[in-house]
Symmetry: C2
């Protein structure tokens, strides 16, 4: 199978998307990979799979590569003798943050009828925004951490007891996030968060809370990963983050009861089905007093959470054969013909 | 000002988008109009403004026109001597239903940095889906009609008393909608609705409910239309619908108290700001026992609800000068440079 890795994008997470994309070479070993880079100014470039490395991008050398145009059916390289379609079976959307997770890439792939692995538009809009994720979870009967919502131009009162955690609603990877230990620190933390977003949510900061990650997809059946208990740090520095997005070897399952594992997996399935069909996502859960709470949905997880699956490559290939189909709409101009008849024009 | 009218699309409402688009010629009189048609198979065509009429599309004659490609900065016509950009100041998204209202067009305009009038991605996702509209309204403190949500593969029990109205969550223009007078009719109505969508909402059908429409936008200030009490019919036949999408002359304000008008306008503003900035929308409200309830949001209303405004063209031009700006993100590869240093590669 020929898998096109779409990566980069105009996003605060542009660089870690590059890291995720390079990691795919190590884990998608039997597939042919076609790398399509979205530059910071949103041009498409075909990148030679043999030559891909992080310096190609940081040096700007990628600009010497072949530029592509998105048209009906796929990506095209324009040349002297016309337009040549780039050959692949499916796009794997690996653009973290803006463009990739907010629904833009999904919209374009859907519009131009390019088969793609990624959350679809609605799933993207709801999971990219932490406030809408709360609405979604609530409507599906999945509990979440209690929260309050503040807007940039609104009042800055919260009724929660400290410490709290402040999160811009639309960003990933801890950007703009602060832990606030007392009321006097709130204003500054909000100033920081509102630099990145018009809306923030405030949640209680639960010291030492148990956290568990569950990734998965639905192909012709559920394919769920192991449950991982991630190593916790208040903040990841760049090397740790790099490690996180370049992980390529399987980790151990969390040491939890079958009942807890089952509760986590049931919550994952409720979130996933049917909204996230066509995608591989990771949900991060907290467990407080034996209750499973959704913390967040990672619609395009770092390195696609490959390290949580025993057969990641097989799963990607199976998913490529079970993508959601768009409803066919036939336009036959019956309605306009009727108007024309009524007006005596046809 | 040169306004590009983007219309058509792969949608059940393709044909009424054509009607809306043609109506713009009558109401945008001092502007230059550039018509860009999205064919049912989603190719872009430049349509001659002088020659536009419904038959051009129903006959397939549009295919003789110039085909366009969407690239960074705009639409381009490819020719023997390279690529020529189509000149305009702003796109007015007039694609009703799928593609136009679900966020695809907004995503593409945002990605390719084309200035556009339309709800942005999140606003589209939430207003295109009647269930998510409920979540949104609730979170903003705007009341809605009570509802129940049914899924295609779920149980078909409702606890509401009859008569009820069944609506697929994702379609406009009454497609798949039924009024169900008693329990024995429910199954058939759900079969019809589930032909169009995986999810439906069920609401009480309130005979003779008072309905009021409010359209508007925010330019440098609020520009709200008159409040209209639309003429009600259980279903619109094709001629009535045609009338509705080709309306071009101003209507009379509803005969309501200042207090009621104020309540309707306050509800509109709560929904609109800030999510719908950059768009002209119409909200349809019910009034039950003097309480204002949001019925639905029309993100791309028929003929842009021009007939509700005293200076529609001026408003479009002012809005074009006050579109939301995308946050600039600078990618400087600091992070990748750091990794390279740490690894001794740079």
């Amino acid at each position: 199978m020929n898998i096109a890795i779409l990566f980069g994008g105009s996003s605060f997470e542009h660089e870690i998307s590059i890291v995720s994309a390079i990691t795919m070479k190590k884990v998608l070993k039997t597939s042919t990979l076609t790398y399509i880079f979205v530059s910071p100014d949103r041009e498409f470039y075909l990148i030679d799979t043999d030559k891909i490395n992080s310096k190609l991008f940081s040096s700007g050398e990628y600009k010497k590569g072949k530029q592509l145009t998105l048209k009906q059916g796929g990506f095209f390289a324009e040349g002297m003798f016309g337009s040549k379609e780039i050959d692949f079976d499916v796009v794997l959307n690996l653009i973290h943050g803006r463009d990739g997770e907010d629904g833009k890439i999904s919209s374009m792939m859907a519009f131009f009828l390019v088969p793609f692995i990624s959350p679809r538009i609605e799933a993207s809009s709801l999971s990219y925004n932490k406030l809408y994720t709360k609405f979604l979870a609530e409507s599906l009967g999945v509990k979440t951490v209690p929260y309050e919502h503040l807007s940039k131009n609104g009042e800055r009162n919260i009724s929660m007891t400290y410490p709290v955690i402040i999160k811009p609603v639309r960003l990933g990877s801890s950007i703009g996030v602060s832990i606030v230990k007392e009321a006097s620190e709130l204003d500054y933390a909000l100033d920081v968060a509102f630099e990145f977003d018009s809306d923030v949510i405030v949640e209680p900061f639960i010291e030492g809370v148990k956290e568990f990650n569950q990734a998965g997809t639905f192909t012709s059946e559920w394919e769920l990963s192991i449950v991982e208990e991630p190593q916790k740090e208040e903040f990841l520095d760049f090397e740790k983050k790099y490690m996180d997005f370049s992980r390529d070897s399987q980790v151990l399952s969390a040491d939890i009861s079958d009942e807890m594992k089952n509760n986590i997996q049931e919550a994952f399935k409720k979130i996933y089905d049917p909204l996230f069909k066509g995608s591989i996502i990771r949900c991060d859960f907290f467990v407080v007093n034996d209750e499973v709470l959704l913390n967040e949905i990672n619609p395009i997880p770092g390195s696609m959470a490959n390290y949580l699956f025993s057969d990641f490559e097989g799963m990607v290939q199976r998913l490529a054969k079970h993508l959601p189909k768009e409803q066919k709409i036939k336009v036959d101009y019956t309605y306009i013909h009727s108007i024309q008849s009524a007006k005596g024009k046809a």
